[in-house]
Point group: C2
């Protein structure tokens, strides 16, 4: 019997995550049954749960993947750019999946204390990336000086949360570009 290579295992894991992301987005956490996860990934439950202990672990892996990607964009380009990217990708299936995951996370944070604890560590990465970037921007003299960094960070995070909820509800992204200009202007040096 041929040995399954690590490369193959990683590819399979990515396949499962992509299918699961779409499935959670479409049906919500509770609605994403094992049967639906099988359909969406094209794999058997045996194959899926060879890679992930249970549905909760699978969901957290999806959310963790998204958080890592977002932290990378924040580090390079800042939180406002994350928001602008959300507007540009409005109709992509990937984005629909991402938004769905975010809302599911929000809902489970509210209703499930254990989940909240497991999630805290993961969301910390985005927060840290934002803090680091704002610190660099302040040193570069780009930011307004009359408001502390902590408040500027919370303000940007509030705008991002608002955008997530707005788009996740299916409301139009059109005309939000100028709104993000306002958001950006509010944190910059005049």
């Amino acid at each position: 019997m041929p040995k399954v290579s690590q490369l193959h295992l990683d590819a399979r894991r990515q396949e499962i995550l992509a299918g699961a992301r779409a499935c959670f987005a479409r049906h919500g956490y509770e609605g994403a049954t094992v049967r639906r996860l099988e359909e969406e990934t094209g794999l058997s439950r045996g194959a899926i749960f060879h890679h992930f202990r249970d549905k909760e672990s699978l969901f957290l892996a999806v959310a963790e993947d998204d958080a890592a990607e977002m932290a990378a964009v924040v580090a390079e380009q800042g939180l406002v750019q994350v928001m602008r990217n959300l507007l540009d990708d409005e109709f992509s299936p990937e984005q629909a999946g991402w938004l769905g995951t975010q809302l599911e996370v929000s809902r489970r944070l509210r209703t499930d204390k254990d989940f909240a604890a497991r999630w805290a560590a993961r969301s910390e990465a985005i927060s840290q990336a934002t803090h680091d970037r704002l610190t660099r921007q302040r040193e570069a003299g780009v930011l307004r000086e009359d408001v502390d960094l902590d408040t500027l960070q919370r303000f940007l995070e509030l705008a991002l949360d608002g955008l997530v909820l707005h788009l996740a509800m299916g409301r139009p992204a059109a005309k939000l570009g100028t709104v993000l200009d306002l958001v950006e202007e509010a944190v910059r040096r005049r």
Copy 2:
């Protein structure tokens, strides 16, 4: 047999709405079973569905009630005040209920087209109240002149959505007061 007065019927209706709001907040829409609605309202399913055709109608009535109250505050005091009130009431059970309802609305807007259509008319009242107030404020010379009203309205609504998601996730309200100062400053005349 004594005739049931309109006053009594209205009071009963309010009782059901209060219990249902708590129940939807705690368990989500799907989780708010008829049995749980009975427990939370202290009334039988017969009594509940004498007043509301079905669970969806009950949920929409809760959401409509919330929207009407919010539109009234917007008309009197503006959208930023709605946000400040949310911070003040952070730990009240009423607020937990309201936030829960908002998130459930968001989730159902995404997954249920029929619901989205029924909801659209209700959310219009808040939007209209915001528009009217901003128009009056612009006439009074309170708002900045270099950005159109539509954009200012979308900016404030984005902040509100962000606050709803933030609080609904159980994140702390502390320190958001200064963030709302930034929001308010961003729309005002310098």
